[in-house]
Symmetry: C2
Subunit: 479 residues, 2 copies
């Protein structure tokens, strides 16, 4: 009998791998070691819970521990892996009770995810200052935002929740003014969520545009949308400090000339995440883009029998074939599942990534894929040419037709599509999948222009906005 | 100076060609000969006009005659081309005033479109019985449906309208019960439109499923939707006859055992269209699929200097590379535009078709592409394998997540995607463009499964319904 398949981390990548392995090879022992109490939760759903659109914290849970058990997986929560010995093929484990032991593995998957970066902002120990990257933070923010008289403790109904932290936050006076530090996904989603909860929201973005990975056309549209909905957007305004001792009092930011202070009673810092790789220190593991664990097309690290997947691992970019780090949900699930099949004896590629992402900003739906930033495209060896067009989402005469902006980026020499974005209020987000498919299939812009895309007045004009953009970009490429 | 570029037909294909040619070669004379009074109208918008969702008939007009003039195009309405002499390169024209003359051409584009097939049903001369394939029919149906006391003549505001026919229909008593003969696009859209106008609607479909080109999964969902909205759907019920002398009284249909009669005071026959090719009879032109004018990758017929585009012409299918006839709006616009460029000296392929189509049935959005019918796939040389799955349109915890059915068809040997459909109430239609792109890019189902498609709770679950379908179909292909 082979040594077990040991998985570190019980979220998307880890549990996908464990489940797939058990299903394909029911005789293989599968052990999942999870540092905390939470498993299998929907990180991307947290802003919508805080907004109140989702009633219970437990709605964000996918698999329960007993369901994991039912799959024949030996799930151990409160088990932190603090070291890996790749020579002896065993991990060092420290339990929540302070015990330590060694666990042997035949194959090991590191699926430890990421953690919120806070940059220079220390939010620890300051009431009213948060990052948002785990379920306890979501529950705490939700409780903090509520009026103490009106908070419903059943909102934080998951058994794993840090009840003491929830109760502490629920007892504090409800905030009125919020600062969100960082205008990426989390920042934009939290701006909507907190506006929905009735707060006066200020969103701070260091650079000149919100949602930098989506490009300027999307950033500008989202900025307008947020402003229309009452959010005060401060772009080009780096935040310097969170002010307050026990409770937050203000934030300091650079208004371009001098330091300004905005009194706030809530701050959420969402300036990115970084991969959790510490358990591999000293093993000789190779790290790659973003400090994430370098993996190959099967999710293997350079250590024998050691795989990595999800937010802690690199991936291969579909456009360049080069290494990239883009922590996103599908990537985690897909690579986990593939590695589960591979260790069960069916070698399966983890798939490439195209950087496909969508985000909602009130009524604006935003999507992006591939290379939108000039500098990144040039660095990848392309000569990028870009066009942005505005077209209707439906036939002009059909009610609900809405302006949709499409940006396409092509490589000048080859004419190949290398990136694109889309923004608009009418079914814009899912349209980005057309671009993702074209990009992964290595289509050129002339080929894109000739695609037979769907037309019917309620859903699209005769020339889909993507076709209009392709036509315009082709004109530019032909010059 | 070369002889002019003569275009027959002033709708999507014809005017796209004429405009493109003038833009690319401003010195070329371009003459457009149009038999009727109407130009550049949105056929696909008519049901929505009749429904009342669109206020004025003129909203469906795109280019006006004076805008066409402004483009330097010599547009002559009321000019029917009754013959073509390919040896002498001239057409015979008969005007609405009864004059006849010959017009020389350097290049000729036949863009005569199609006309409604009525099968055994003669709707001419029977009040209350209609086909829907031109603007006068749309105006007449709209007037007929209205209560004579309440009809607003400004609805039919386009100057080209047959006012006498409108007034005649407006004066007739408003109908209460409608039969729609044919459960294709027009039938389904008209069922929704007339239900919206308050009529009791019966929809008759000869075969067992509505929307046959969309496959059974879509047909069944649409049948349920129509029934839920009060439409009585009669599938497997061929209509035999429209009963009535001056005014419609009933329709007779086969209920499976014997002939039944349903009293109605409105019938709309939508059993398909056929290409208008008579002007080329005797020229030796080759006809192809569906009796349409056979064209090559540049829209050329077998006659020198004679092109055809739009509903009267064949096209090349992207999956098979073989000839197909699928009269759809984008095809007409695109092939017209390409031919305009070609005759202006820039040879441009008209593009292939994938049979991409979408249709709305109340709240259900339906899409299809490629080969869905077993028999058609086999005839094209494939060994089709099919799976249909139901998946959520959003994360399960996010409000509005709705069941979405995806059908994928692959060729067993090659694993290549050859067709697909999708139906659901939440952004389902535009998702078919992902399948259209995959299909035109010759992706296999394993490649489809590995696409990096978008995920965010408001728009898609982690595994997009298309990825779920690909996964299931791959499982079947591997057996």
């Amino acid at each position: 009998m082979t040594d077990p398949f040991v998985v570190v981390g019980a979220d998307a990548a880890g549990l996908s791998a464990a489940s797939k392995c058990r299903r394909e090879d029911p005789d293989r022992d599968v052990v999942v070691l999870e540092k905390g109490r939470w498993i299998s939760f929907a990180y991307c759903g947290m802003p919508y819970f805080i907004e109140g659109r989702i009633e219970r914290l437990s709605n964000l849970l996918s698999l329960s521990p007993s369901e994991v058990d039912d799959r024949g997986i030996d799930l151990r929560r409160g088990h932190e892996v603090v070291g890996v010995d790749p020579e002896e093929r065993r991990v060092s484990v420290r339990t929540a009770d302070g015990e330590t032991f060694e666990e042997p593995y035949g194959d090991l998957l590191v699926a430890t995810g990421g953690r919120a970066v806070t940059g220079p902002f220390d939010v620890r120990g300051i009431d009213g200052a948060f990052t948002l990257h785990d379920m306890d933070a979501a529950a705490a923010i939700d409780a903090y935002v509520a009026d103490p008289e009106e908070y419903d403790p059943d909102r934080a109904d998951a058994s794993a929740v840090d009840r003491e932290r929830v109760d502490h936050n629920a007892a504090l006076p409800a905030p009125e003014t919020a600062a969100i530090v960082g205008g990426g996904y989390v920042g934009v989603e939290m701006a909507e969520a907190l506006t929905g909860r009735g707060l006066d929201v200020h969103l701070f973005q260091r650079s000149e545009h919100l949602l930098p990975p989506f490009g300027e056309a999307v950033g500008e549209r989202v900025e307008t949308e947020l402003a229309d909905r009452g959010v005060t957007v401060h772009t080009g305004r780096p935040v310097g400090e969170i002010v307050g001792d026990d409770r937050i009092e203000a934030i300091e930011f650079d208004d371009g000339n001098r330091s300004e202070t905005l009194p706030v009673d809530l701050a959420v810092v969402g300036v990115g995440i970084e991969p959790n790789t510490e358990l591999l220190s000293g093993t000789g593991v190779e790290l790659g883009e973003g400090g994430a664990i370098r993996t190959d097309e099967h999710g293997r690290t350079n250590l024998p029998g050691v795989y990595a997947a999800g937010d802690c691992a690199t991936a291969i970019h579909a456009v360049t074939g080069e290494e990239a780090w883009m922590p996103l949900g599908l990537t985690a699930n897909r690579s986990g599942r593939a590695i589960g099949a591979t260790v069960a004896g069916d070698p399966t590629p983890v798939g490439e990534i195209a950087g496909t992402a969508v985000v909602k900003a009130f009524d604006q739906e935003c999507g992006r894929v591939g290379f939108l930033e000039e500098a990144a495209a040039v660095e990848a060896g392309f000569d990028p040419v870009r066009e942005t067009i505005t077209a209707g989402s439906r036939s002009g005469y059909y009610p609900g037709a809405a302006e949709t902006d499409v940006t396409l980026v092509a490589d000048r020499d080859s004419g190949r599509l290398i990136g694109g974005s889309i923004v608009g209020p009418d079914r814009a987000a899912v349209r980005v999948n057309t671009l993702a498919t074209a990009l992964e299939a290595d289509l050129t812009v002339p080929e894109l222009e000739r695609l037979d895309l769907a037309y019917a007045p309620p859903f699209s004009p005769v020339w889909d906005p993507i076709l209009v953009a392709a036509k315009v970009l082709n004109g530019t490429l032909e010059k």
